[in-house]
C-alpha cells in the first residue's frame, strides 16, 4: 500500500494530467455531437480493421465447420430442388399438395474409379446412417449411381460409368423415355436407347431423370443431347448424350432415400408371382 502511494506521489503529475485529460475529453464529447460522431467514426474504422484481421486469421480454422454447415444446408436445399423439379413438369398440379417420398442424405466420396468398364464408388455412410441397397446417389449437377451394397459405416455404389447399369431418362420437353447407358469411352459420353422415333426430339435438349425407376425422383437434370439419328427401319432413335456431371471429380454426393421403396417392390413382386 505504502509503495503504491509512493508511486502515485512520484508520478502525480502524469496521473493528474491523464485524469484531467480523460475528464475533459468526456466533457468535450458530451458537449458536442460532432466530436462524438467523429470519434465513433474513427472507433468504428479501427474496430472494423481489427475484426477484419481477426476474421482473416480465424476464418481458415473455421473452414471445416463451415464446410459441414454448408453441406447440411445443401442437403436441405437439394431436397427442395428435387421436389420442385418434380412439380414443374406438371404445371397443372401446382395447386394440389403432392406426396414427395424422397429424402436426401449427404455423404463424402472416399473412393471413386472411372477408368474401368465397371466402376464403383465408396461412400462414408452406411447402414448405421440408414443407407440401404438400391438407393439412388446424386451429386451437385447430376446423378452418380445406385447403392449396391452397404456395410455398417460404408456403402458401395455402382457408378453410372458401368455398362450394366441402365437409368430411366426422358427429355425435359418431350415425355418420351429411354434408358441411359454408358458407352464405355470417356466419362461424359453416353447413349440413350429405346426412344421411339415418333417422339419430338432435337439436338441440345436437356435430359432429366424419368422418375419411373424408384431410385430417382423425376426431373434431375443429367445432360443434353449431342447427336440425334433415326435408325432406318427400327422405329427407334440413336441418341448420343453428354453429361453435365464430371464423374472423375466427385467429392460430395447425396444419397436419395425413397420411403415408398418397399411398397413399390412388394407390388412388383405381386405382379411377377
Amino acid at each position: 500500500m505504502q509503495r503504491i502511494l509512493n508511486a502515485l506521489l512520484q508520478y502525480r503529475n502524469p496521473v493528474l494530467y491523464f485524469f484531467l485529460l480523460a475528464l475533459s475529453v468526456s466533457f468535450s464529447f458530451n458537449q458536442s455531437p460532432f466530436h462524438q460522431y467523429s470519434f465513433q467514426k474513427y472507433g468504428f474504422y479501427l474496430s472494423s480493421k481489427l475484426y477484419y484481421i481477426k476474421n482473416a486469421l480465424g476464418s481458415y480454422y473455421d473452414l471445416k465447420v463451415i464446410n459441414q454447415q454448408l453441406l447440411k444446408e445443401n442437403e436441405q436445399l437439394k431436397k427442395i430442388e428435387l421436389s420442385l423439379g418434380d412439380l414443374s413438369l406438371y404445371p397443372f398440379d401446382f395447386k394440389q399438395p403432392k406426396r414427395f417420398p424422397f429424402k436426401v442424405k449427404r455423404a463424402n466420396v472416399l473412393k471413386n474409379s472411372y477408368k474401368n468398364q465397371r466402376n464403383f464408388l465408396i461412400l462414408n455412410i452406411g447402414s448405421d446412417n440408414g443407407i440401404q441397397p438400391e438407393m439412388g446417389v446424386i451429386s451437385k449437377d447430376g446423378i452418380v449411381g445406385v447403392v449396391h451394397s452397404v456395410s455398417k459405416n460404408y456403402s458401395n455404389v455402382i457408378s453410372i460409368l458401368n455398362k450394366d447399369l441402365k437409368i430411366n431418362v426422358r427429355t425435359k420437353k418431350s415425355p418420351a423415355f429411354g434408358s441411359l447407358v454408358w458407352s464405355g469411352g470417356s466419362s461424359f459420353e453416353f447413349k440413350i436407347e429405346d426412344i421411339v422415333s415418333n417422339a419430338k426430339l432435337s439436338q441440345g435438349d436437356t435430359i432429366v431423370t424419368g422418375g419411373m425407376s424408384s431410385y430417382f425422383p423425376l426431373g434431375i437434370p443429367i445432360g443434353k443431347i449431342s447427336k440425334l439419328n433415326k435408325i432406318q427401319g427400327s422405329g427407334y432413335y440413336s441418341v448420343d448424350a453428354i453429361l453435365f456431371n464430371d464423374l472423375s471429380q466427385i467429392y460430395y454426393a447425396y444419397v436419395i432415400e425413397n420411403s415408398d421403396f418397399k411398397e413399390i417392390k412388394s407390388l412388383q413382386k405381386n405382379i411377377s408371382q
Binding site: P14, S28, H35
Partner: protein, 166 residues
Amino acid sequence: MNSFSPISIISFITLVLGQVLLFNHLHIFGSINPIIYLLFFVFYRFESNQTFLILLSFLIGFSVDILSQSGGAHTIASLTIGFLRPLIIKYAFGVTVETPQSYFSDSRTLNKLVFLILLIAIHHLIYFSLVYFSFDSILLIIKNMFLTLLFSLILIGITLSFYPNK
C-alpha cells in the same frame, strides 16, 4: 507570480475574461482569434509547483470553454501545455545551472522567443486539431494554426514588453 496569491487570482480572472469578452470576438481576416490566456503559462514561475500548474491549466481552459461555449478544446489544449511546460522550458532554455527561475529573470531573447513559439504552437496545434477533428481538414488545421500563432505571438510579445526584466 507566486503559486497562490491575490495577484495571481486577479490575473487568472483577467486573462479568462479578456479572452472570452475581447479576443474571441476579434475575427482578424474573418476568422483569426488570437489566444491571450497563454500568458498565464509565461507568468507562472518556472520553479513553482508543477502539480498545481496542471490543476490551474485545467481550470483556465475549462473556464474559457464554459464561458465561450466551445466544445472542450481549450481545456484539453491548455491542460496539455500545463503538463508539457517543463519539457518546453528544458528545450528552450537548456538543462544547465543557468535555467532561469521565471520567464523575466532570463535575458536571452532567442531562448525566450523559442519558448513562446513552442508554447503557442503546441497549444494551437492541439486546439485546432480538436476543433476540426478530422484527417481530411489537416491543411485547414495547419493554416489556421500558423496564422493564429502569428497573431497570438505578436499580442503576447507586446503584452510581455510592458513588464521589465528582473
